[in-house]
């Protein structure tokens, strides 16, 4: 299966969207339909190419396949950087994911963003994003990955802030970029640690170097954690999770593409790629961060009322799952979940976009510009009005809740099995499966809460319900497509067992051994997970059922009252509703002091150091020169020079008195001098 044309395809896949970006930026406004067909065309071609690669991979059935190609980017003699592509099964699957969701977003936006003020620019940035994301996917070295990493961040910044006339959108974009930068600092430090010990940026060289022990122990752990910080930033893990919910300010197709399916998944992808170099300590950190985030974000999603915010926190939580999987060793399960999550989460976002679109139209018709079209409390009863949206979202909700027969069940189950197995072998870390299953329960609950509030029950704003209607086919098309991909069968082919994840995926994506000497080998991890499989399955089905039941009772049957539960939860409800005041606390304890520091430093520099110290030299010199001048004029000129004259003058008048004009005096002087001289001569 060493198809050389894979490299050519990859080149096209990588650069076509970039070409679309360039065309759109410079010529977009002047093209017919503002050039959306350019972008859509480019991304459809990438989809076709990646599907060809995918199908070839499927029928080649080789799990160890890799294809690599590099070129020297810069060379200074000893220091050089090579860039290149690495194509293996994971790459190809990821390429398909990116291409598919990107195409869906492009198509969805044809309707969703129709008439937008910056339509061509929007498509340009989508192209830039697709290019950068593929850059991460195809990278075979840390520098390429880092570069694409940052470019993805820029695309995110540009797209979140698409409607930049709104301050909230501009702020959200900036927040996203800066939070990512914090993660990138760690990422870069990790890169530097690895490069310093191993001398290369290429994955292959690094893995060989790790295996050879060129970097080990604490340094390797720190390098791993450093790299993971990048993932924390990009995949919005605690404590860098703050940007993703705010990123919902961007258009919904962007949220679906970047902040659900692909960009945020980049962190997971990176962790999956670099799994072989994480030490057990690093993996533990990874697992805890992921697990905690999963539960933590889920606990916030439970009380949110903005439909997109629920989905945003859900994404953070699901990403936490994937990171947890990487940390506990079952990283192929993480990748599996990445794949299934991309499908159903994107679908959920598109669905929400569809709902919001409908709400917008209805509100617009009533000339109501104050009601929030994204607030679920204004919805209700949309089921009959938007059937396609409803049913597709329901399928995805079932998937995310982990109900058997759907894709999410398979991937979640694999993760939970791995986590449980890990805890069974490391009893000290019992908290991890607690995180996992707890989050599963909450996920089921809040997702069905979302469905019931939006689609079931009585409409909360009855005056709108007549104007709510289904969205056009450009928007429902992707919905149907992705919903169907949320059913289990597409992942288990050619097997049809809904309870087992055995299928083309598990055949093709096989965990490789860690390169860290002493780490447990992959097959052991797989065996442990397999042993824990059924236990995990029962528990996960149980908690899912529990969560769904609670949601049904609370929102559908109205047996429990949500308000009462909220009131009795008291402080907990308040914290959850306000995302645990993280943003406020970060602001109070981090941002404000930092700005104060910056102002202080600037004041120190300009008003103190420069004004007093540096100018002090000037003032001192000025003073010195005045003193010197005075000294020179009064002291030397007046004192010494003129003084000499005055003394001489004085002496002159004194001596003048000798000239009495009297002869006798002169005689006296003569005589006296004679006598004195004689005396002196005698002695």
């Amino acid at each position: 299966m060493m198809e050389p044309y894979f490299i050519h395809f990859s080149l096209l896949i990588l650069f076509l969207p970039l070409a679309a970006f360039v065309v759109q930026i410079f010529f977009g406004k002047h093209l017919p339909r503002q050039g959306d067909w350019v972008s859509v065309g480019a991304v459809v071609i990438t989809l076709v190419l990646s599907l060809i690669m995918f199908v070839t991979m499927l029928f080649g059935h080789d799990s160890g396949f890799t294809e690599e190609a590099s070129f020297t980017w810069l060379d200074m003699g000893a220091f050089s950087i090579q860039l290149g592509f690495l194509i293996d099964n994971i790459t190809i699957i990821m390429l398909v994911v990116v291409a598919l969701i990107s195409t869906c977003s492009h198509v969805f936006s044809l309707q969703y963003m129709a008439g937008d003020i910056r339509y061509s620019r929007y498509y340009a940035y989508l192209g830039l994003f697709t290019f950068s994301m593929n850059g991460i996917v195809l990278a075979n070295n840390l520098i390429s990955m880092y570069m694409s990493w940052e470019l993805v961040g820029v695309s995110s910044y540009l797209l979140i802030g698409h409607w930049f006339e709104k301050d909230t959108a501009a702020d959200a974009g900036k927040k996203a970029f800066l939070t990512n930068r914090v993660g990138d600092i760690g990422f870069f430090i990790g890169i530097m640690l690895l490069y310093t010990s191993i001398g290369s940026f290429m994955f292959g060289d690094i893995f060989t170097g790790v295996a050879a022990g060129k970097i080990a122990g604490t340094t390797l752990t720190l390098a791993g954690i450093g790299l993971f910080m990048g993932a924390m930033g990009k995949s919005s893990q605690f404590p860098l999770h703050i940007w993703l919910p705010d990123a919902m300010e961007g258009p919904t197709p962007v949220s679906a593409l970047m902040h659900a399916a692909t960009m945020v998944a980049a962190g997971v992808y990176m962790s999956v790629r670099l799994f072989p170099l994480f030490t057990p300590d690093a993996l533990l950190v990874v697992a805890y961060v992921g697990g905690f985030t999963a539960l933590f974000a889920a606990s916030i999603a439970v009380t949110q009322t903005d439909i997109k915010k629920v989905l945003a926190y859900s994404t953070v939580s699901q990403l936490g799952y994937m990171i947890l999987a990487v940390g506990t060793g079952v990283y192929t399960a993480a990748f599996f979940h990445l794949l299934t999550h991309a499908m159903f989460k994107a679908n959920l976002f598109y669905g929400s976009g569809s709902v919001i679109h409908a709400m917008h139209h209805a509100l617009h018709k009533k000339h109501d510009h104050n009601t929030d079209p994204q607030d679920m409390r204004n919805m209700g009863g949309f089921k009959d009005k938007m059937p396609v949206t409803y049913w597709t979202m329901l399928i995805s909700t079932l998937a995310i809740a982990g109900v058997p027969l759907f894709s999410g069940f398979l991937s979640k189950d694999a993760i939970l099995a791995g986590t449980l197995a890990f805890a069974q072998h490391h009893p000290a870390h019992l908290l991890l499966p607690v995180f996992g299953f707890g989050a599963a329960a909450l996920t089921a609950f809040y997702m069905f809460r979302l469905m019931f509030l939006t689609f079931h029950g009585a409409p909360q704003m009855p005056e709108l319900i007549d104007d709510i209607h289904e969205s056009p086919k450009e928007m429902t098309g992707p919905l149907v497509l992705l919903a169907s991909l949320s059913v289990f069968i597409f992942y288990t082919l050619p097997y049809v067992n809904p309870l087992s994840d055995h299928g083309w995926f598990t055949d093709l994506v096989v965990a490789g051994n860690s390169f860290v000497p002493g780490n447990i080998p992959a097959h052991e991890i797989a065996e442990h997970a397999h042993d824990a499989h059924y236990t995990a399955m029962y528990i996960s089905v149980a908690v899912a059922f529990f969560g769904i039941a609670l949601a049904v009772l609370m929102y559908l049957g109205k047996v429990f009252s949500a308000e009462n539960w909220a009131k009795s939860a008291g402080r907990l409800y308040d914290w959850s509703r306000n995302k645990y005041y993280f943003d406020e606390n970060y602001d109070r304890f981090l941002y404000q002091p930092f700005f104060r520091l910056a102002n202080k430093v600037a004041w120190l520099d300009w008003d103190l150091y420069d004004k007093y110290f540096i100018n002090g030299f000037g003032r001192f010199t000025d003073w010195l020169s005045r003193v010197t001048g005075r000294f020179d004029y009064e002291g030397i000129d007046q004192g010494l020079v003129d003084g000499t004259g005055r003394i001489i003058d004085y002496l002159g008048s004194a001596f003048r008195k000798l000239q009495t004009g009297r002869l006798q005096n002169y005689l006296l002087y003569v005589t006296a001098s004679l006598i004195i001289l004689t005396i002196i001569q005698a002695f």
Binding site: L74, F79, E150, L151, V154, D167, R181, V601, A602
Partner: protein
């Protein structure tokens, strides 16, 4: 006449021509300046074409006896370190003629002084005789004083005199160092000669009980450090930048700052490699302070030009850290040639990149200042809706400033970090916060100026015009080009960098430290 001499004397010729054009023919004066700098640019490109990047030593050397009794000669030469700087100078001077196209006060004087400045700068980069170097160094100062003091902003006299005296102070210390070298090394001003004999000749030289090498190193370093500018000698920079007219800010940031780094590399590193080992820790630490101090100060600014000025301090910090990395090639530090190449290559690349990026930024600040007559960041708002092209170009410039991959700034910063990391782990880790600071102040400023609701005052602001585009776009293209494909630049400098590294490592007696 050699091509190097042509490069130096062409602007003087232009200046003399301008001196003869009557004051009222402003257009012809400007055209003369443009032609002079244009030919200079072409010549520098021809030079690049004919330059042999495979050897690291001086090329196109010219030598004339000047004052034989003091052993002063007119020696010119170019190598991988100075070639990019010469090209950058020629390019920026050419562009700045167009940036200054709308000067209305005393046009003749302005362009005459400008061309004189041009000569001074190119002369410094090309001269290989210490005395000549010093002469050109001083030639630069005088036009700057007048250009800032006459055509500048409200506090221009203060800024001009401060800049002049501060830099002159450094020059005087430099002169002491030069004379120290002259007398210790057998009374020669010839720099290539000094490079050969200085390390040995300075052994055992003692000045007032301190090692002569260290004293001379520090004296020369201070002279250059004031120009870089290294904290704590940096406070003249914000003032000079804010008060200078746009074109002069561009030259100041784009080239004059690089003279400091060039000086350190050519003179301190080339002539006294012992001192490099002794000082590199301090150099890295000063670089760290530059990064953090400059970044924090930039964050607190409300004047856009001052913000960009402080960002220059910040970016030069990276170059300093990269320069300190050269000692990685020493035996005691693991003979890590890769790190040394990365560090020094990064520093020299950063010189060029910062030159283009800062120049771009200052031109763009000038554009908005022309229109709104103030630079208060908080006084704008929502300009992206009114001036989308300007917003787009400024966005790219800001991203270049914050080191976004795909634009040239990233590679040089990354190389500096990667190079210095093996030797100065802690300092590099601490200075990576600089990339966060960069992003913070640039994006925050961008948001305050361009995003949000359009400020009513500016709903008739004209878009960036063709002349301004002409000045900015070449720099933008270069930034993007080197961001994607840095190899051409690095190929030019590589062999000379090797020579510098080797001389530091092998000629140094401290190599075992």
């Amino acid at each position: 006449m050699g091509i190097l001499s042509l490069l130096i004397w062409l602007p003087i010729l232009g200046m003399v021509t301008i001196a003869f054009i009557p004051r009222k023919y402003e257009k012809y004066i400007k055209i003369t300046a443009a032609v002079a700098t244009g030919i200079q640019l072409l010549l520098s490109l021809v030079l690049w074409q004919r330059f042999d990047a495979g050897i690291g030593t001086m090329q196109f050397m010219e030598r004339l006896e000047w004052i034989p009794s003091f052993n002063i000669a007119y020696i010119l030469g170019i190598d991988g370190l100075s070639l990019p700087m010469v090209i950058l100078t020629a390019l920026l001077c050419f562009i700045c003629v167009f940036v200054s196209w709308n000067i209305s006060k005393a046009v003749k004087g302005y362009f005459a002084l400008f061309l004189l400045l041009d000569t001074g700068i190119i002369g410094v980069f090309l001269s290989l005789d210490f005395f000549l170097f010093y002469v050109f160094w001083e030639v630069m100062l005088l036009p700057m004083y007048f250009l800032i003091g006459i055509w500048g902003g409200p506090q221009r006299e203060y800024a001009a005199i401060k800049f002049f005296l501060y830099t002159l102070f450094g020059s005087v210390l430099m002169l002491v160092g030069i004379l120290g070298l002259y007398f210790s090394c057998g009374k020669t001003f010839d720099i290539p000669e000094l490079m050969r004999i200085a390390p040995e000749a300075l052994q055992g030289v003692v000045w007032w009980g301190m090692s002569g090498i260290k004293v001379i190193w520090v004296l020369l370093f201070i002279g250059f450090a004031i120009k870089v500018p290294v904290f704590p000698f940096h406070t003249w920079l914000p003032l000079a930048h804010v008060e200078a007219p746009t074109a002069i800010s561009v030259i100041l940031a784009g080239i004059l700052l690089k003279l400091g780094v060039y000086g350190i590399l050519r003179i301190n590193y080339g002539l006294m490699p012992d001192g490099v080992y002794w000082f590199s820790g301090a150099l890295a630490f000063l670089g760290l302070i530059n990064v953090i101090w400059g970044g924090l100060c930039a964050l607190a600014q409300t004047d856009l030009k001052k913000l960009v000025a402080y960002s220059s301090v910040n970016h030069m910090g990276y170059a300093l850290i990269g320069m300190a990395a050269v000692i990685a090639a020493g035996a005691a530090n693991g003979t890590n040639f890769k790190a040394a190449q990365a560090g020094i290559g990064g520093a020299v690349f950063q010189m060029f990149n910062h030159g283009t990026i800062s120049a771009m930024l200052f031109i763009l600040v000038g554009v908005i200042y022309e229109r709104a007559h103030h630079r208060d960041i908080d006084g704008f708002g929502g300009l992206a809706s009114q001036m989308p092209v300007y917003a787009g170009i400024t966005a790219v410039a800001f991203f270049a400033g914050l080191g976004l991959p795909g634009l040239s700034g990233f590679i040089s910063e990354a190389m500096c970090f990667i190079g210095a990391f093996p030797v100065y782990r802690g300092i590099v880790i601490a200075s990576t916060i600089g990339i966060l600071l960069n992003a913070a102040y640039f994006l925050w400023a961008f948001q305050r100026i361009f995003f949000g609701e359009l400020n009513e005052k500016y709903n008739k602001l004209p878009e960036i015009n063709r002349l301004e585009l002409f000045t900015v776009v070449p720099l933008l293209v270069i930034t993007i080009f080197f961001g994607i494909y840095p190899a051409p630049y690095l190929d030019i400098i590589a062999r000379t960098m090797d020579m510098i590294i080797n001389s530091v490592v092998s000629l140094s007696t401290f190599a075992g430290m």
